[in-house]
Amino acid sequence: MTHATLAENFIAAGDRSAWHDRALWFVREKRDRQADDVPEWEQLREAASAIKQHTMSRLPDYLQEFELNAKRLGVKVHWAVDGEEHNRIVHSILQQHDVRRVVKSKSMLTEECHLNPFLEERGLVVVDTDLGERIVQLREEPPSHIVLPAIHIRKEEVGDCFHEHLGTEEGASDPKYLTEAARQHLRQQFLEADAGITGVNFAVAETGGFVVCTNEGNADLGVSLPKLHIACMGLEKLVPRAADLGVFLRLLARSATGQPITTYSSHFHGPRPGAELHVVIVDNGRNKILQSPEFRRSLNCIRCGACMNTCPVFRRSGGHSYESTVPGPIGSILAPIREPDQHKTLPFACTLCGSCTDVCPVKIDLHHELYAMRNHLDQQQKLEGSKKLSMRMTAGIFQRPALYRTAGRVARLALRWLPRFLVYSPLNMWGRQRELPEAPSKSFRELYDERHRKN
């Protein structure tokens, strides 16, 4: 389905859209308060952008350095060309350790590779331990936001879900009560897990380690009890030096949730004694993005979600309307690169307002890339024929000033003289909720001519 249809449905569903919009705007406002608190905010963004751009320009070297240093620390490093290979590698590691039950913290990369169904089909139990992810997992739906996976769900609905799956009281919807129930439930999962899987927020070439950030502590609980930790990362998650983390950890939580820092920012350098630490580094199309001068800056992305929170379209249409692992502005660039046929409406789910570009902590020129993606899709011949034709006709009219003047006069005449029921027919999408402008009898150029003739 197109984004437009799904968005329309989301908006038509009572007041969910308005509530969703207010919730995310609130997060955006918290982000603003954090930016106010950091006078050097723009310098931080500039530094972050420069660090990422430099890293991308020397990515093979830094990946090699990371691998070397990680191995020195006793980390087992694996490489996956695509999502399928990533899943096979993870499964193979788990099999070798006789793992039955896995706990997993939030990792957009594992979502992108569809790891959960792959493992479940092979008989493993996978428990997502981030509260929001656990909620959507129990409801059997995808997350709708990369940082706030359950932002589209009302507390009553969480209550219903937990009543069904965790045995909470019917009709209970108090967030504290429900969170406590989830705490007890997930605590059991942590204690019974055979292995823990995490994502990687930042991998550091200089040290061979990586950082995982959470507020809940679920990543750490998941990997500090079992003897096996598998960390999955996209190859763009690298930074050159530990000092670079100073920049990124100052920007990440402020941009994502409007906090100065996440509760936990754990640095992993090698396995703990008697345990194993594996890192799976994944390409899955990132190389293709790196090759493209127009879109390579999107590899700067640190998956903060600020662009989603600020996007007036995302807030009102909900993450599911994008039908993409990563939705919103950044997703509307990443998804069409990978699967243009499936996601060609996404760059058009946008007014090019530029708010996303201005909040992005790593200064991705998001709205310019969305604009470029529209043209890119046309060049791949993915865009609908009829719109292109009407645009060509319009451009043709604009190339002939005399024809343009005539067309304008005719259109204005029609607007002034056609009966209302014809103008505001169901075919007129503009007219559903808006009046059309009043058509003047004279155009500007006619008035200007007259005025000058008078003078």
């Binding site: 420069a50 380690g209 009890l225 983390l245 996440t262 703990r272």
Partner: protein
């Protein structure tokens, strides 16, 4: 086949590389915000993230603070890894499997220094037999030397070497979540409360 995939990825990367661009210098004393009174800022940040921070002149004072805390008083199973602060109701050295620590109600643990800008504390697994102690107990107290407060994250990174520890990290406040209708709940999966004690005598 891992070797082939690695080669494939590197070959493609080398072919795709954009023009080189410089890596910026990040001096510890850059245009980064510093505070007139870092300790006061640190305290207010710890409080803003749902924790508390109190100053204690000596370890004895720290113990008095703990003794007044309800979760500490009510704790049945306690342990401490801070010399002279708190106590242990069991022999932590004899615990081989971290799963055994599932019923710890209160843990008193060390932190190396605090970060004023965000109320975070740098902790490592140095001398910590099970890192899970920072996450599994119901309530936590982290003891730091009161004089060890840096202004910001850049200063923090200038003084740490995370690669020397299998696990290290920043901890800011108790665990929390707002995943249910953006309603903030303190005490998600990690500690339900965090009591920071800044001891002057350390």
């Amino acid at each position: 086949m891992p070797a082939n995939s690695r080669t494939q990825i590197f070959t493609a990367l080398h072919a795709a590389l954009p023009q080189s661009s410089p890596l910026p210098d990040l001096p510890a004393e850059g245009p980064w915000k510093i505070f007139k009174d870092p300790y006061t800022r640190f305290v207010s940040m710890v409080e803003s993230v749902g924790g508390t921070c109190t100053r204690a002149a000596t370890s004895a004072d720290a113990n008095r603070l703990l003794a007044d805390l309800t979760p500490y008083k009510e704790a049945v199973v306690r342990c401490s890894l801070v010399p002279n602060v708190g106590d242990s109701t069991f022999d932590l050295d004899s615990v081989a499997d971290p799963h055994e620590l599932h019923d710890v109600d209160f843990a008193v643990l060390p932190g190396e220094f605090g970060v004023a800008e965000n109320g975070a504390i740098w902790v490592t697994d140095n001398g910590i037999p099970h890192r899970v102690l920072y996450f599994l107990p119901q309530h936590l107290s982290i003891v730091i030397p009161a004089a060890q407060i840096v202004h910001n994250m850049h200063e923090a990174y200038a003084r740490i070497t995370p690669q020397q520890h299998a696990w290290s990290g920043f901890i800011s406040g108790p665990s929390k979540t707002a995943d249910i209708e953006q309603s903030l709940v303190i005490g998600a999966h990690g500690a339900r409360s965090l009591t920071v004690i800044a001891v002057e005598a350390i």
